[in-house]
């Protein structure tokens, strides 16, 4: 088998680039605990409105004892409920979402608040919003002919 010396050099370059990229992601995952939303947690989409965490009374924003916030939302045709969420800036927020109907996705543009919402599973995203002001939750997965209309409001307010 024949490998040209130039080719060998290129192989080293490729190896180096790959190690730098994978290494930086591994570093971020370990030191900053930055992982994609991945809590494998099931729920019955047919009964979640009747009892438990995602009944209407339990939806919305609550503050935890340690000062961080918990937001419970339902993604359903064609909005996110409750339709207006208000959280403080620079504060840890945990979102928990699920869907009673079909697959949705949620993204707040310019932030890493992003997850798929799959019926039968609970999605959990931990984030901090660093910019005050109005933003939007946009559904980013095709969920039927009214998909374009599926969005709701987020207000990031000053701390305290």
């Amino acid at each position: 088998m024949h490998i040209d010396p130039l080719e060998k050099k290129w192989l080293y370059v490729v190896g180096f680039m790959t190690i730098v990229m994978v290494g930086s992601m591994t570093f971020a995952a370990i030191t900053m605990n930055l992982h994609p939303p991945s809590n494998v947690e099931t729920i019955d989409p047919k009964t979640l409105h009747l009892s438990g965490e995602f009944t209407e009374d339990n939806l919305g924003v609550t503050q935890n004892a340690d000062g961080s916030y918990m937001v419970r939302m339902i993604a359903a045709r064609y909005s996110f409920y409750p339709q207006m969420i208000e959280v403080p800036v620079d504060t840890d927020v945990t979102f928990r979402l699920t869907s009673p109907d079909i697959v949705h996705g949620v993204h707040v543009p310019f932030t890493n608040m992003s997850t798929m919402v799959i019926p039968g599973y609970v999605s959990e995203v931990k984030t901090r919003f660093v910019r005050e002001g109005e933003a939007q939750f946009l559904c980013n997965e095709y969920c039927g002919l009214g998909h374009d209309y599926m969005w709701s409001k987020l207000k990031v307010v000053p701390k305290g």
Binding site: V14, P36, T42, G144, L145, D148
Partner: protein
């Protein structure tokens, strides 16, 4: 080349390009609808039926039929003997064509607006699922044909080196069998029985996991023939030699081994899979960049050699010295350019952390149109120009126009996809038909929406020139006899090779083990967890 194989190759290629022609027109309608500049044509029903059809035609029909047609040509022309079983090739063609027609009926009548990724618990008409499955079943017959052609050739030619083009085609056939198993299981055990009412509920978490098994490597199934043409046709047509035959083999082997067990980068944002498995698939995803980086190097080195033989001097002089009147050279250079741009965007998608910023935004649509429409399809077009005289026995009607057509294709694709990348960074979701959000963001999107219409129109014009050229050539009376023996020769042609570089037994074993590690528990977990199925929903 054996005459009977020519007709089956031609039949497959014509179906491929007919599908592309219909799909590109739908694409133009979609950018117009989506821009919001033409309120009179806006319709959600029409838009999502159109997107579903566009995706199926481009992603499944154009690709599968092109790959089958090119494979039949490659097998007979490189092995210099008829196909293993010619009758089977025609059966594959009609099974796939029948499946395509079956799937087209619900698609075009709005009974399957579930997009080409299916999205249960949205439910389409069962005929759509059955038709799509038959299309894949036809392609499995093609895989058998390719594998058996090589196996019987090797038996009759012990110790000989399998020609590189056929070595790559076989890798693709084997990889596609591994790849398509995921969606096959989803169809046969979930979607078809569920759509027929034999099952009440479906688990979308399991369905998405199975689909991810297919979803990444399918893009390599599409890309493979483009790489095969770059390694085994382009260097010769450019007037040079292939820089390294062995590197081509190593790249093909790596694509076969690494492409399949890495599908979870499509599921980074999904709740039903754990972070550890996502991390494992991320490692494989970055490893699969290696064969592409090797290919870029080897193909550019081959072209540089060709440019220098044609008198090119200096660091970049060889580029100007290339034969820019040759469609394959033009397509190859443009394909590599778009591969570099699109591959860079792909690294961001594949990133374990940054993915959350661009996931399901228009950035992703920009990325895969650049790699698929740009790199992959432009090579399909150039291969068609290259093969047409061989398959039809007629001279290409308008050679100069072919070059212009390829330039237009690349320019149109760049005008279309660069704004999409920007729109994605500005937060625009993909797969929307309009932008009715009450947000200042929408105003920032407007200028980019205009650009994408221009891109779409250029692409339609380019496709029109392409199909016209093929049609006029096929119908013309200007007979041309071209040799089928014009494959690229390597600088150092291998006279003998170690077994692992001349066959796939070892590599299949490695794929099997890796698949068990990457998908074993993630699929089994649905039997362990207490899962709850979803009822069917319309759209």
């Amino acid at each position: 080349m054996h005459d009977r194989s020519k007709s089956v190759a031609l039949a497959n290629l014509w179906v491929a390009f007919a599908a592309m022609f219909v799909a590109i027109l739908l694409g133009l309608y979609q950018v117009m609808n989506r821009s919001g500049l033409f309120p009179e044509i806006e319709s959600h029903e029409l838009y999502f039926a159109s997107v579903s059809t566009h995706g199926v035609l481009m992603g499944f029909v154009l690709t599968t039929f092109f790959i089958m047609g090119f494979g039949y040509y490659t097998a007979t022309a490189t092995l210099k003997r008829p196909l293993w079983n010619k009758g089977l090739a025609w059966i594959a063609f009609f099974v796939s064509l029948g499946g395509t027609v079956m799937a087209a009926i619900p698609l075009l009548t709005g009974k399957a607006s579930v997009l080409y990724t299916f999205y249960p618990p949205l439910q389409a008409h069962p005929v759509f699922y059955i038709g799509a499955t038959l299309l894949v079943v036809g392609s499995w017959i093609w895989c058998l044909e390719m594998i058996m052609s090589v196996v019987t050739w090797k038996r009759d030619n012990p110790g000989k080196v399998v020609p590189l083009a056929m070595f790559g085609t076989t890798a693709n056939a084997i990889m596609w069998l591994w790849t398509s198993a995921g969606v096959g299981i989803e169809m046969i055990f979930q979607l078809i029985p569920w759509s027929l009412g034999l099952m009440d509920t479906v688990d979308p978490g399991l369905a998405r996991t199975l689909f991810s098994w297919t979803l990444h490597a399918i893009v390599y199934f599409w890309l493979f023939p483009a790489y095969i043409a770059m390694y085994t046709i382009l260097p010769k047509v450019a007037g040079g030699r292939l820089f390294s035959d062995e590197m081509g083999r190593i790249a093909f082997i790596m694509l076969l081994v690494i492409s399949v067990p890495i599908g979870f980068h499509h599921l980074y944002m999904d709740p039903q899979q754990a972070a550890g498995f996502k991390f494992l698939h991320m490692l494989g995803t970055f490893a699969v960049a290696v064969p592409t980086l090797l290919t870029g190097f080897t193909v550019l080195a081959s072209l540089e050699g060709a440019g220098r033989l044609r008198g090119g001097k200096g660091l970049f002089g060889w580029i100007a010295a290339l034969d820019w009147k040759e469609p394959m050279v033009v397509a190859g250079m443009l394909a590599l350019f778009m591969l570099i741009a699109g591959g860079w965007g792909g690294m961001i998608n594949a990133s374990y952390q940054m993915n959350s910023l661009v996931h399901n935004t228009q950035w992703v649509t920009g990325h895969f149109h650049l790699i698929f429409g740009g790199t992959t399809v432009i090579m399909y077009l150039a291969v068609a120009y290259h093969l047409w005289p061989k398959l039809t026995g007629r001279r290409l009607a308008m050679r100069g126009l072919a070059v212009i057509q390829l330039w237009l294709w690349a320019i149109g694709m760049l005008i279309l996809t660069l704004p999409w990348h920007v729109l994605g960074l500005l937060g625009q979701p993909r797969r929307i038909s309009s932008t009715p959000y009450d947000s200042p963001l929408v105003e920032q999107w407007d200028p980019h929406e205009l650009a994408m219409i221009v891109g779409g129109a250029v692409l339609v014009f380019s496709t029109l020139l392409f199909v016209l050229n093929l049609l006029l050539s096929h119908l013309s009376k200007r007979v041309d006899s071209v040799s089928d023996d014009d494959w690229a020769v390597a600088v150092h042609p291998p006279l003998s090779l170690p077994k692992p570089l001349n066959g796939y037994a070892l590599w299949n074993g490695i794929v099997a083990v890796w698949m068990v590690v990457a998908y074993g528990y993630p699929v089994l977990q649905f039997l362990i967890l207490e899962t709850h199925g979803s009822l069917p929903w319309g759209y």
